[in-house]
Structure formats: structure tokens, C-alpha cells
Symmetry: C2
Subunit: 259 residues, 2 copies
Amino acid sequence: MRTIISIIGAGNVAWNLAQNLEKKAYPIAEIYSRNIANANLLCQKLLTAKATDKLDFSESEANIFILSIADAAFEEVLKQIKLPNDAILIHTSGSQPLGILEKTTSQIAVFYPLQTFSKTKKVDFSQIPFCLEANSEKTLNIISDLAKSLSTKIYHLTSEQRATIHVAAVFACNFSNHFLTIADDILTKNKLDFEILKPLLRETLEKAFVIPPKEAQTGPAKRGDKNTIKKHLDFLENEKNYKEIYQLITNSIKNSEHS
Amino acid sequence: MRTIISIIGAGNVAWNLAQNLEKKAYPIAEIYSRNIANANLLCQKLLTAKATDKLDFSESEANIFILSIADAAFEEVLKQIKLPNDAILIHTSGSQPLGILEKTTSQIAVFYPLQTFSKTKKVDFSQIPFCLEANSEKTLNIISDLAKSLSTKIYHLTSEQRATIHVAAVFACNFSNHFLTIADDILTKNKLDFEILKPLLRETLEKAFVIPPKEAQTGPAKRGDKNTIKKHLDFLENEKNYKEIYQLITNSIKNSEHS
């Protein structure tokens, strides 16, 4: 049976996934968004997909339905969605268990691309780790083929393992990125350019790829350099909650020395 | 006059700077460390340098002295150091003002390489931003030539600007790296491999190079995804101070949406 895919959602993950699946010759039948304008925008990037704001897919020609929506929208969408018989329902969330799809249909799976996506920047899909899980070997084989067509990095993980990775990813990526935002804010306020930090940023990352990050740690907290820490805290006195963050992370670095 | 350099310190910065200056044909006369064994280790990597644990350089043939020591050691070292007449004294600290060298000698400068160094990993010096400052144009010219021989990225900055960059660098690099340590810790405890995060880490950094980090922010805090945030906080319940950090950074991301 030929695989035909419909995608529920038109956010960053749906946006990137739909276009990359089509490139691998999987036809996309429908793109759903509560706001049909968003579905239309994505359909304009695709060959055959139709935009819809209805969750009744009982007449759809698709046999795989990929749910790429905000975690907060799961309950509402799963209550309303109607699928064709024998369709496979997949979600792409890092933090939702496989079981959340259980009441909706019988063939269910998770297809979680561990990557950060935006609509404006293309990502090399071949390097994205895909974390897969399904409620039967047959379904797992089908979504493994789908994942292997996109990427060389396939992981079979339980819902618990995926949730753990998701927490770690929030620290390593979302929270790190916020520190880049804080650095950018501090520099911009003082008429300095974020550009000057880029070689240091690149090296910090490169290091984490060759030695464990704990060993790569440098800076005043690691050295226990009280004078510099005090100067920095004074500097941050009137800056939002930056002083509180500086203090907490500095203490955490000190404590991790002894663990 | 031929430039001959001695370096006070044998830590990570001294270790990398001494070897790169020698490569550019600057002879290194002495390496000082309070612990002469450390000075000896560095001298073994150099052609002509002699190790010393004495701060009396009045008979030294060097005319540039580079102070690469922990900020906490400045007071003690500057009290004891004896330099030849007409020597230039330079420090490499991000957070110390130029003025700290004022009482020691008349030609003073700062030569701050904005990079993270370790003894085990080589860094491409040509891409390191050098932040320079001096108390005269003559001295600034001399250290500019020195910096230009090592790197293409030369910045003339005041002590205040350098201190601001140093605070920003602590957030963007030291603190980000600590989040990689936390991610590594969470994964390792759950028998998962840090490796799986690397494509996401690389993309997070690449994004920060092409769009402002505030625009690149993704994740549950940015989306206001309360269910996922609650799940993560529950998961972190018994993990050191990770729960407190998660809460504070999540709030900071939410607040920066409105600023």
C-alpha cells in the first residue's frame, strides 16, 4: 500500500516535516490548522496538499496522520479527530507519552525529531535524531521506514526515555539560547556588538563535542574567583532578574565541582 | 628594538598565548609560576623560555611582560614584581581595569583574548577577538602589532566596555556550558547518551549566528506550555537545584517576551 500522509498542524515542526517528506516522494494529502490561513501558507510550499480547518478525515485518502501540534492542544484535537479505518496516528512531541493516542485509534506511534525548527531557516534532516515508538512491531516498521528516508539517526526509545531527553534538551538548547539572549541584551544596551562573542560561542560548543562539558567548564564560578563574581553582581544590580540568575548558576557550578 | 616577551603565569591563557606568540617568531624569555613545576611544563613546549618562581625581572632581557594570572592573584603579584626600565606591562584579564597596573610601571596595556582556553585543545588564534587598551598611543601601537600578528580581529575597547563583554561572555559561554553539564548529568543518570543532543546543540548555535537569539527562542517556556513545564518540574523534583534553575529560567524567558 502506498503511503499517503496528512499533517495536523502548521507550526514549525509541521512546516519542516511536510516539505521534507514530500521531497522524499511521500504525497501530502491534507494540512490541518485551526486557523486555515496558516494551513494555506504551508500548502503553498507543497505540490498536492489541501488546507483544511476540519478534523473529520474519515474520507481522506491518507493512511498516516502526523499530529504536530502544541502539547496544550492535544486533548481538544484528539476529542474531535475522525480518522479512516486502519490509519496510523503519529505524534511528534517530545514530552507526550505514546499512550495519549490510545483512545483515538488502534495503530499509534511517536515520531519525535530532536531538533529546533523555524519557518525561516532550513535544517539538514539527514542529521536529525528521530526518536521512534509504536504500539506494535508492524507500525514501528512502517514509521522506521519513514524516518530512515529522512535521516540516518534512528533511535527506538520508550516514552519515559523520550521525556528525559526532552528535559535535557530544554536545558542544553532552550535555556542556553536564553543566555545568548541575555548576553545580546547586555551588549546591545552598552552599544557593543553580539558579533564579538561568536568565536567564543563556537569554541564553547566545539569543546562540548570533544570533552565532557563538566571538564570544559571555565570562568569565575569554576575558579572560585570571588572578586570577579562580586563585580559582575554589582554590574547586574539593575538588570531585570539577571543578578538572581547569575547568583543561582554560579552556585550551581560551584556545587557541581563537589558532586 | 626587538620584542622579547616574558609571561607571568602558566595557566590556560598563558599556555596558549606563549606557544602562539613563539610561532609568530616572538622569543619567550621567561615563564613565571608560583609553582615552578607548572612553569617547567610550559617551558618544555617552548624553544628558549626559562622557568622561574621569582618575580624579580630587573635583569631580564624581555621588554614586554604579559600577566596571565587569576584575578585573585593580581594584588600579590603586582606588589612583588620588579621590571626592567622601559618595559611594557600587559594583563590579559577581561574584568580587571587597565588602571590596576598603574602603580607598577609607566607603560601599561591590556591584551584580552576573548576565548575559552584549555591545555588539551588547540584554538584557531586567527579568529580570536583581541580587546586592546593602553595608557599611550605608542604602547597601543606596539600591542596592536603583537595582536595583529596573532589574529585578524582587533578591538580597541575601554576597561568598562571590556568588563561588560566579560559579563555577557559569562552568560553566553560559561553558564551555557553549565547547562550542557546539567543535560549530560540528566541523560547519564538515565543511561542515555549525550551524543543524541549534538545535532540540536549545533543547530541552536548556528541559529544564533543568523538570527538574533531572542527570535530563535523555542521550547515550552516560550510557548507558555504549562503542562510540559509542570511535567518537567515534577521530573526534576529530586535533582539537586535543577528544579529551581528550571523555574527561574522559564520565568525569565516568559518575561523577556514582554520586554
